[in-house]
Structures are given as C-alpha cells and as structure tokens.
Amino acid sequence: MAHGPAKGIGRWLFTTNHKDIGTLYLWFSFAMFLLGGSFAMIIRAELFEPGMQIIRPEFFNQMTTMHGLVMVFGAIMPAFVGLANWMIPMMIGAPDMALPRMNNLSFWILPFAFALMASTLFMEGGAPNFGWTFYAPLSTTYAPDTVNFFIFAVHIMGASSIMGSINIIATVLNMRAPGMTLMKMPMFVWTWLITAFLLIAVMPVLAGAVTMMLMDINFGTSFFDAAGGGDPVLFQHVFWFFGHPEVYIIILPAFGVISHIIPTFSRKPLFGYSSMVYATASIAFLSFIVWAHHMFLVGMPIGGELYFMYATMLIAIPTAAKVFNWISTMFRGSMTFETPMLFAIAFVILFTIGGFTGVMVAIAPADVQYHDSYFVVAHFHYVMVAGAVFSGTAAVYYWLPKWCGRMYDESMAKVQFWVSFVGFNVTFFPQHFLGLAGMPRRYADYALQFSDWNMVSSIGAFMYGASQLLFLFIVIRTIRSGTPVSEPKVWEGAEGLEWTLATPVPYHTFSTPPEVK
C-alpha cells in the first residue's frame, strides 16, 4: 500500500487527499462560523436594550452585513463542501476526488477571499455596510470604497465554489464503483450532485452581478444607475436569480445528511428513496423560477406577484414529501436517540417551522406586512441555522468517530444539543413576534415596545453562542482523547460503503473499487 500523509505543514499546503482537504474545509468553516458568530454576538449585545449602548450605528450596519456574508459564504457553504470531500469518495467507492489538484486550489483560495473581506473592517470607511444582499445603488453609488475588496472576495469565493462543484460532478459521474447506478447512490451523494449543478448555474451569475457593480463603480457604466439609463431593480433580479437557488444550495446537502442519520438510528432503510431523489431535483428546478418572491414590494404587476406567489408555494410540495419520508422512516423503527439523531430530529421539526413561515412570507399580500421585518429574520434563521447548521453539527457527531476512530462524549454532546436547541429557539422564536409587531430588520435601535422580546432573544443568542464553544471543546477532546472505537460500523444501524472501511478510516481507501450489488 502507498505511503501515509506527509509530515509538517506541507501536508496541509500541498495535499491532494480528499480527506485532508475535507478536514481543511471543515476547520476553515468552523473558524468562519465563530467569526460570523462573534459578529452576531455584537449585534445581539447592542440590541439587548433599546438605545445605542455599545457600538455606533455605522458599525452595526457593518456587523449585520459581515455576519450574513461570512455565515453564508464562509461557514455554511464550505462546511458542506468539506463533508462532500470527506464522504463522497467513500460513499461511491472511489479512491479520491476526480480532480485532486484542483481540489487543493479550490480550498486554498478561500482563506484569501475571506482575509480580503475581513481586512475591510480595519480600513478607512469600514467594512461593507449595505446588507448581505448588497442592493444597488446602496452598494455602488453610496458604498464605502472598501466595496472593491468585497467584490474581489466574492469573485475568489465564487471561483472556489465553482471549482469545488466541478470536482464533485466529475467525481460522481465518472468514479462510482462498478454496479453503483445513479439510483443506487446514497442520498448525500444525490443531493450534492444536484447542488453542484445549481452552484455551476448560479455562482457565475453572482460573479456577473458583482462585476456589473465593479464597472458601475469604477468604469462609468450604468447597469444599475438610473441616471445613465440603468435600473436598480435589475440588480435585485440578477441577485435573486442567484440568491434563491443559493438557499437550496445551502439546504439540499443538509437534507442529504439527515437522510443518512435518520435511517441509521431508526434501523430502517430510508423510506421513499426514489421520491427523495425526485423531490430534490424538483426543488432544484423550482428554485430557478421563483426568485422575485424576494421582491414583492418593488412594484410588480399583479400578474407577476400571483405567478411568483403560486410558484413559490409549489416548492412546499416536494419539501413536504421529504419531511413525510423522514417521519415515515422513523415510524415503527427501533429508534435510539444518540446526539446525531437528536440534531436530526430537531432539524426536521425546526426546518418544518421555517418552511411554514416560508409559505407565509410567500403570500404576496401578507408579505407587505412581513417584508424586511424580524419575521423574515426568524424565518431564514429557522432554515439556515436549525436547518443547515444543525444538520452540519449532526453530520460531525455522526461521522467524526468514523474519521478519527474515537467516540465523542455522549453526555457532554447531549448537553451541547439541549443548550443549542433551547438557545436557538429562545433567540429566534420571539423574533417572529417582533416582526409581526412591526420591528424592521437591520436597524441598530428599536422602539420601546420591542424591548422585552429583544432582551429574551439576546439571552438566547448568548446561550446558543456558548453552546458552539462547547461543541468546539467536545470535538477537540474527541480527537485527542476520545474512547477508541474500531468496528467498521461505528453505528450498528449504519448502511453504505463508507461503513465497510476500517475505523479510523485509512489515509487511502478504495484503491481497488468495491463491487456494488
């Protein structure tokens, strides 16, 4: 058998091993998660009481913007790319990713992108302050000069995502073990295959949007400037043509993870595998034709509002199919409630709440009330945090023992689960009330009647933030001194090629492809 990993820092800088690169992605994303989380803590500390307490409003705007950008592009997306790197070759019986050197490049340009973006915090004029959706002309005519750093950061990050996606598609389409047909692929591989196509379709559109911004700002064009014949509303169309598929890019791999964990701890195969595949594909298709539901208030003709309203509500159908399939998988299974399963069940419940509020904001006439309020903030945190982040945490607890051959401390992990679960709900559930009562999002201050729920929400946020530090501690402790495990099937109910490998997983796996029957 070939050699093990190289020694020293060179192992990480020059590695082309999918497991090393997966690890790099996961650590990078966790670092970004803490960075974005610290911005969130500043936001919630400022909103603890009405009036300006700690920071200035200009800095508050930078915090909301950077929180969104870092969490979406720096924490959640790389986390799932990391999981894909680790798991896809092992799940399809391939020795590595199809394009290992491009894999190295796609990771190593990411730290530069985020260094570029974070460095703006220390520059004159401050960091981007126009919200993570960077609507023109706020992000062009009225933006701080540092917007150019932001634009290049987005370009680099987009290039990284596109390379990562190309790699995943090339791997899945060309390197599956003999006998593994598309309809025998594990769900995580399916969801990532579809996600990768979404990324290739829309990340270039994001790059196009920021390129147009760059030209408007520096080269005198008028894509988004009405004075020169452009249209600011065009920006919103281009942005959301990227932005709506983007939210499914974030959530589909999370669906994949959950579709592995629930069968394992229910000790039953996934219910309705093929309907899961078709539901994923339908969600991906629908995500391209609903973008303007983010723009109900720009002044659309009534026909447009109705179309985008109905098309959006249609997405609830494949999504519900998935939720029912997960419930049916659990139904009459012999369930146990280890930490990954707890996170997975919490995912199903909380994601469904987020899905329902999604249907509420999709109702065009009602959206007039909800638009840009804390109700929307609560909605997308239920799908992004309780959806993507809970699923990522579940994935780490589920696969970490397989990766490093050591079991995490179950009771500490359960504490972490309950603190996150309670902290999350205490933070975001009251934000529904705040939004319905009329509190607008992205403001550094608020009217007195919103004080109580904001204080509750801030306390929840600190709780949730602390639970993530505990998570970091548990993971490090597991890697360093967790109880050793050596059975290939770390979880007795787990199915799939990855569980036929030795534990801990050797540095090189499936040098000869396994046979799938």
Binding site: A98, I162, P204, V205, G208, M212, A226, V238
Partner: protein, 183 residues
C-alpha cells in the same frame, strides 16, 4: 490514449459556468430592458414618438400630473411650472419644467422619466422632451425645459389619472467635456 472521461466532464462544466457568467453580464440586462419595454412594467417611457393622424378623442379627459424630484444631493432647483393638466387623448400638449443651477459651478443633469400607473407607460408618448438629452447649465443660470406629449387614444378606460415623474440626476462627472463646451 482514449479520451479521458473526467476531462470531458471538466470541459463541459467549465464551458457551462463561463456561459452563465456571460449570460448574467451580457444577456440579463438587455433582456430585462426588452421585457420592461414590451410589457410596459417599470414605468419606463419610450423615446421620441412620431405623431400619427389618429385625431383627438374629445369625448374623454385624462388628468396628467407632474412630479419633479432631485436625486440624492442634486442641488438644482427643479420643478414643473404647472402641476396638473387635463388633456384629451390624441391631443399634443406642452408642459414646461423649470430648472436652476443654484451652485457656483457649471453642471450637467439628466432627467429620468417614470410613469405611474405602470400600465399607462406604453400609452404615454413624448414627441419632444428635455429628458432625451442631458441638460448643461452654467453656475447660477436657469432654463425652461419643454416637454410635448400625447396620451394614446387606446389608453385603457380604467386609467383616468397619469402621473409623470422626473428624477434629476447629477451627471457632471460622467460627461467629459460637456462642461467645457458651455464656456
């Protein structure tokens, strides 16, 4: 050596990604403009209109209101001389806007029209408009800005009031030499 299937996939995907980038940059903006022009949504009005011989529909009267707004920190005085007129569809009507450069430097402005309700945009024709050109004004000078418009005879019956809004933008920086020409 047989063709490498991974390389073939790679090439297809790279071409696809590059295609989407070009689509966003060169297809989406013009497509959006065409879409808005065809459907009339967005309230954008067309360019100079050729008068047809359809005649005036005196049986109907439409109220046309004028609004003038300065964009951002635009320091000019900008206002319609008459705020509201009643016209018959098909009848060419003149309206005058007044602009004064209150600064002590020569500036160039561009007025951008918008029609509300959006459904009226395609029935609101301008045969002559100061918005077709940029407006240079010397420091402290003023000008009457003319507009001639016709409301189409086919204007939907449900629309009885049309609001024409102009927003005035400072474009001094983007027109090299325009200020120099003034002097």
């Amino acid at each position: 050596m047989p063709t490498n299937p991974v390389r073939a996939t790679l090439v297809k995907l790279v071409v696809g990604a590059a295609g989407m980038f070009l689509f966003a940059l060169f297809v989406m903006p013009p497509l959006y403009d065409v879409f808005c022009e065809v459907t009339g949504i967005g309230g954008k009005t067309g360019s100079a209109y050729q008068v047809s011989e359809a005649g005036v529909d005196t049986s109907r009267t439409v109220k046309v209101q004028f609004v003038a707004t300065n964009n951002g920190a635009m320091p000019w005085e900008f206002t319609p001389k008459v705020y509201e007129v009643r016209v018959h569809p098909g009848e060419p009507t003149e309206a005058i806007f007044y602009a004064k450069n209150r600064t002590n430097r020569a500036m160039v402005a561009q007025a951008i029209p918008n029609v509300t309700p959006f459904g009226a945009a395609e029935y609101f024709h301008k045969t002559e408009c100061f918005c077709f050109n940029q407006q240079p004004l010397d420091a402290g000078s003023d000008a009457d800005l003319p507009l001639v418009f016709i409301v189409d005879r086919d204007l939907p019956k449900a629309i009885n009031t049309i609001t024409l809004s102009y927003t005035l933008f400072d474009v001094t920086d983007r027109v090299d030499g325009a200020v120099a020409q003034l002097n």
